[in-house]
């Protein structure tokens, strides 16, 4: 804007000079007046025309209308006092800053459209008032005063419009975030409905297969012979495993309450409980050495966080099978905003490139970790940790074990 106005003012004044319509002494004041006039027009009138040429204004409700009228009154009052009541020549210090609160009000509460309108209105009051007060003064005095008024209005226009733009941008961002969150909620709901339907549709045929296997065995068992019996056993095992997978799918899809139970959880005690249980109940975990360090307490649901340890430690037990010695370490790193918890084992690990795949439901890796398990354990861990506002990750070099980490927030935050 400033550059374009410089070009026009310079060319204009130069042509006046060359045509002999202005003396060289007058060049500087004419140039400044010209330039300021152009800038003022670009900053005050152009934005008004631009923002008001868009879509029609929506009808304001009663409260909004009243606030708008109050704003109008305050602008007119301020403009009147500043440009009409107070003599701009008599008062050494101008009271122009009285207009600032009204402009900020417009920027914060009404947006760019009303802002431009208020600036145009204020400009009209200013020019009218100044001309009225100074019509009998000398022309240089009038010119100077108008220039000062114009500078003031231009600066206010830029400031107010920038402020209005920032406020409008923030409002748009907030609306967009709200819309995204609503869409996300809807998507989750659809996913739940879908998983629910799938788990039902799969369960029905599986239960038919199992029923038929039972009936077949009961009625025709002796006639099927040893090999026939063995085949029935295989069918039953496979269908049973499908049934358990479907149950897990259903559990994974099930909706958890939005507001989970939240309390301060003694993570050390929780981890110890799970370690003890694994060591005593699972014959497979007999020779595992659990090394449990002091863990920082967490804020969250004890039931859900216990599931996190149960899944991570259960996996660690599973994947250290065959190692001598078997070693599982649980450590915690206290932090400012969030604490970090790590479960490491010296098991077979996984291919480093597949770390992110581990947390997807039913994703069975073709590599080292594909021993057994139904594949939702880590997806459940990820879901619980994210629900608590934390992050979860996995690390392995593919040979010397795996390390699973997650963070939990330290202070009360949004869930």
């Amino acid at each position: 804007v400033a550059l374009a106005c410089t070009v026009s003012a310079t060319l204009g004044v130069a042509s006046l000079d060359l045509a002999g319509l202005a003396t060289w002494e007058q060049t500087a004041p004419i140039w400044v007046t010209w330039w300021l006039g152009d800038v003022g027009g670009a900053l005050i009138v152009a934005p008004f025309l631009l923002v008001w040429s868009g879509a029609p204004l929506e009808r304001p409700d009663g409260g909004r209308l009243r606030e708008g009228l109050a704003l109008l009154a305050s602008v007119v009052l301020a403009g009147w006092v500043v440009f009409h009541v107070v003599n701009p020549l008599a008062l050494g210090v101008s009271l122009k800053f009285l207009c600032v609160p009204s402009l900020i009000w417009a920027a914060f509460r009404f947006g760019p459209r009303v802002c431009t309108a208020v600036i145009v209105l204020l400009s009209a009051l200013a020019v009218w008032g100044t001309l009225g007060r100074l019509s009998h003064s000398e022309s240089w005095q009038l010119n100077l005063t108008l220039l000062v008024v114009q500078v003031f209005l231009s600066v206010m226009a830029v400031t107010t419009l920038a402020l209005a733009a920032v406020v409008a941008e923030r409002r748009r961002a907030a609306n967009a975030a709200q819309a995204t969150s609503a869409r996300l909620d809807e998507a989750f709901q659809q996913l739940e409905t879908f998983s629910h339907a799938i788990s039902h549709d799969l369960r029905s045929p599986v239960s038919t297969v199992l029923n038929c296997v039972d009936l077949l065995e009961e009625d025709h068992g002796p006639r099927l012979g040893a090999q026939g019996g063995r085949l029935l056993q295989l069918i039953r095992a496979a269908a049973g495993s499908a049934g358990r997978l479907i149950d897990q799918l259903g559990q994974h899809a099930q909706r958890w309450p939005r507001q989970a139970e939240r309390s301060v959880v003694d993570m050390t005690a929780l981890a110890r409980e799970v370690c003890d249980e694994l060591a005593s109940l699972q014959p497979a975990a007999e020779d595992v050495r659990f090394e449990l360090h002091e863990l920082p307490p967490a804020l969250g649901s004890p039931v859900l966080l216990e599931r996190v340890f149960r899944n991570l430690l259960g996996n660690a037990v599973k994947f250290t099978r065959g190692r001598h010695p078997r070693h599982i370490t649980v450590t915690g790193l206290p932090g400012g905003a969030e604490h970090t918890y790590l479960v490491s084992d010296n098991g077979i690990g996984f291919a480093p490139g597949e770390a992110s795949l581990l947390f997807r439901p039913f994703r069975r890796l073709r590599g080292a970790r594909d021993i057994e398990g139904l594949g939702v354990g880590l997806a459940v861990v990820a879901r619980i940790v994210r629900r608590h506002g934390g992050r979860v990750w996995a690390e392995s070099d593919g040979t010397s074990g795996a390390r699973f980490g997650f963070t939990l927030r330290n202070e009360e935050g949004r869930s």
Binding site: V206, A239, R244
Partner: protein
């Protein structure tokens, strides 16, 4: 005179009927299992089909799948509850839907009991036999005599 109690099983899965029949016999219940695969057949069996003026002897309990080829189990349940003579007939839903919403809706529609089919339960159909025993033997209802007054042939 033997008064055989009847269980009406409404399920389009034939294996479910075979399993239920056996499990109920194995449990030593003197009951006959009548299986139908559609809602229309069930309505005819209960004397609720149009043109079926004389109601036959009603069953002692209805075991009902939520998903039938021609209507939903809840639709059929609503028809049963709308009938003056079958308003209090025990109806047990047997389904693989286990969502809390499904359960709530079923009870609100007037179900007396809600069983979830769990594939691989063993012995097969044991839960059906238990439900049948509950409604035929243990409970006293206008439809079955209960432990003390039950007529055994």
């Amino acid at each position: 005179v033997s008064a055989r109690l009847r269980v009406l099983l409404v399920d389009d899965d034939e294996s479910q009927f075979l399993v239920a029949e056996r499990a109920i016999a194995r449990a030593g219940l003197a009951a006959e299992v009548r299986g139908v695969g559609t809602g229309a057949e069930a309505l005819a069996e209960l004397g609720l089909a149009p043109g079926n003026a004389r109601p036959p002897e009603p069953p002692a309990v209805v075991m009902l799948d939520l998903e039938l080829p021609d209507m939903t189990g809840l639709d059929l349940l609503a028809r049963i509850r709308a009938s003056a003579s079958l308003r209090t007939l025990p109806v047990v839903l047997v389904t693989s839907f286990d969502g809390p919403e499904d359960v709530r809706r079923a009870y609100e529609a007037g179900a007396n009991s809600y069983l979830v089919k769990r594939p691989g339960d063993s012995p097969a159909g044991a839960y059906l036999a238990e439900a049948a025993r509950y409604w035929l033997q243990l409970n006293v209802t206008p439809w079955a005599g209960g432990r003390e007054t039950r007529h055994v042939g």
